[in-house]
């Protein structure tokens, strides 16, 4: 498979007063054609900066990158015709209607909605009932769909989506990912960033980013497969006290709150779970539940961060 996006040793620093902020430190990765590639990392990891470099809005300090076989520095004009970019912040004209926004961006790319209707059809039918409504008056999920339509209107080869599901409800998020899957089937390479770890498993491959560095790149299965330690999920009536007691215990390696449970690893991989359970019962914990679980991307992320 040939590569759609290639990033080689990219560095980017920002000057903020007298201090230099290193937003990207030696980033390298490849994305194959037709892949759904995820950049996973918390806010401030450098995802947006990386997107801005790849979409030719920003110039890297060091290193180079290629998009669709074109170099981002020299061939930026050609790249702009071939990529679709959906910024993290809603960046369409709020005072124009849905239809006007679409035809405006279509015209800027020298095309029209009719010409590429097949591509945006699935998305457009969902927002079509509101086509005379101003973009500013749409709901969050609808706004994202409109933005995606606008990014797709010129039939790009590579699609960059910067946190498309941030601030969108759970149902819309799921719908959005289904749309991305469908687009992928049409042969579009998609690079998507998200701060939500649970979305990582929906990508073909993910890069885990933290503080301007890539900690690991692999398929979601590959990443969770690297988590060798047994992982336990525990819960009790008093979750706060549970975490406090676990963290105080010297047999416990890590303990993180994960929704309804705490995820725990032991220092010794062969540690029996019964002594721990008895210890917690002695401490007065009620409704205790302990079970062994498979690690998620988030567990791996936490583990990588601590390394």
């Amino acid at each position: 498979m040939s590569t759609a996006v290639k990033v080689e040793h990219v560095f980017k620093t920002f000057q903020s007063g007298k201090t230099q902020i290193e937003a990207l430190k030696d980033i390298s990765f490849d994305v194959s054609k037709g892949e759904l590639f995820g950049l996973i990392g918390p806010d401030g990891a450098g995802k947006t900066t990386l997107f801005r470099i790849l979409t030719t809005l920003m110039i890297a300090n060091k290193g180079n990158a290629w998009v669709d076989g074109l170099e981002v520095m020299g061939d930026y004009k050609e790249i702009r015709k071939r990529v679709g970019y959906m910024p993290g912040r809603f960046s369409l004209y709020q005072d124009l209607t849905v239809e006007e926004n679409l035809s405006f961006f279509a015209t800027l790319f020298n095309t029209s909605l009719e010409e590429n209707y097949d591509l945006v059809k699935d998305i457009y039918v969902q927002i079509e009932p509101f086509k005379t409504r101003r973009a500013g008056a749409l709901s969050g999920g609808m706004k994202q769909k409109l933005a995606l339509s606008c990014a797709l209107i010129h039939s790009p080869n590579v699609l960059f989506l910067d946190e498309p599901t941030t601030g969108v409800d759970a149902v819309s998020r799921q719908e959005f990912w289904e749309l991305l899957r469908k687009l992928q089937l049409q042969g579009i390479t998609i690079v998507v960033s998200t701060p939500y770890m649970d979305e990582a498993s929906l990508c073909d491959r993910v890069a885990l980013m933290q503080d301007g560095k890539i900690m690991d790149i692999d398929s979601p299965k590959g990443i969770t497969g690297k988590f060798k330690k047994p992982l336990w999920a525990m819960s009790s009536a008093d979750m706060y006290k549970l975490m406090h007691d676990l963290r105080a215990d010297e047999r416990i390696d890590t303990c993180y709150p994960f929704g309804q449970h705490h995820h725990i690893t032991f220092k010794d991989d062969h540690q029996e779970v019964n002594p721990i359970e008895n210890f917690l019962i002695d401490k007065g914990h009620k409704g205790l539940s302990i079970e062994k679980i498979e690690p998620t991307i988030e567990d791996c992320f936490m583990e990588l961060m601590n390394r």
Partner: protein, 372 residues
Amino acid sequence: MRTLKILLEKEFRQIFRNPAILRLIFIMPIVQLLILPLAADYEVKNINIAVVDQDRSSYSRKLTDKIAASSYFNLVTYTNSYTEAIQEVEKDKADVVLQIPPAFEKDLIKEDKAKLFMALNAINGVKANLGGVYLRSIISDFNGEVRLEWVQLPRFNPQPMIKISSINWFNPLLNYQFFMVPGILVILVTMVGSFLAALNIVKEKEIGTIEQINVTPIRKHQFILGKLIPFWILGLIVLSIGMLLARIFYGIIPEGSLLTIYIFAVVYLLSVLGLGLLISTYTDTQQQAMLISFFLIMVFILLGGLYTSIDSMPQWAQVFTRFNPVTYFIDVMRMVVLKGSSLYDIRYHLLIVTAFGIFLNVWAVISYKKRN
């Protein structure tokens, strides 16, 4: 061309959907042209005067009556204590004190001369200056009357005298509004043009839409033109509304041709809009753009020759006014409206403003970067 067309279409849609801009465009000229020329009037009226009459004679009373009867002065205090009169000045109730000393009438009759004392509150320099002049002319008038009463003037002046008569060209009645309204109209067009242009691009930066524009293959000059043309047209609309109001309310009908004014305005707007675009490429928020354009426009107006004559400015300020586009348009407006100057007469103005326009716009296009 198709790109430019859709850009213009979009820009006009946005303008017409923004009630604040529409209101600004139509209400601002009306308010500025109907109210400002009436308020910005150099003629000083209603000067409050305190008369200290220590003579209490028929002449002193006659003089006081004469002053009080003039339309320029309000007699606020009539007293015989100078201290009391000065207190009125301190309380800001009187602007001028006229002291008539004891034995004013006696001296005038016996010695053929008398003295008066005038004290002016110079906090407002213009008022003090003009008040002094007015008062002096009333007194000299009074003096003439007194002389007439006592001396039979010979039929011919014993000394040779030069009598001066004058005529005011281009504005015979020295109508202040003829002078101010064209100038205020220039300020109006300048403000609408530069503010709207400056705020517009910055707004796109602020709400992030410029990101989405920058990733499209749109060319820089297309983008800038798409911004320039709408405000160009709006500027000319404001100018037309202003000219219409000036004609209806002040009876100002340009002596010269309207075409001359419009040709100059088209070029002038280009330079003003260029300035606005330039500001917007260097700023990140609407607030910054607003403050910078406000500062620049303020300087341009004060050094533009609208309120104060450029010839009486210090040398360095005069040099500065040559780099001020506002100066040229105010000059051209007055030349065409009052004097009836033709395109040929304003050729240098036109040339210089064209140069400004090219310089500012080229700079704006160069400094607008689609990537950083």
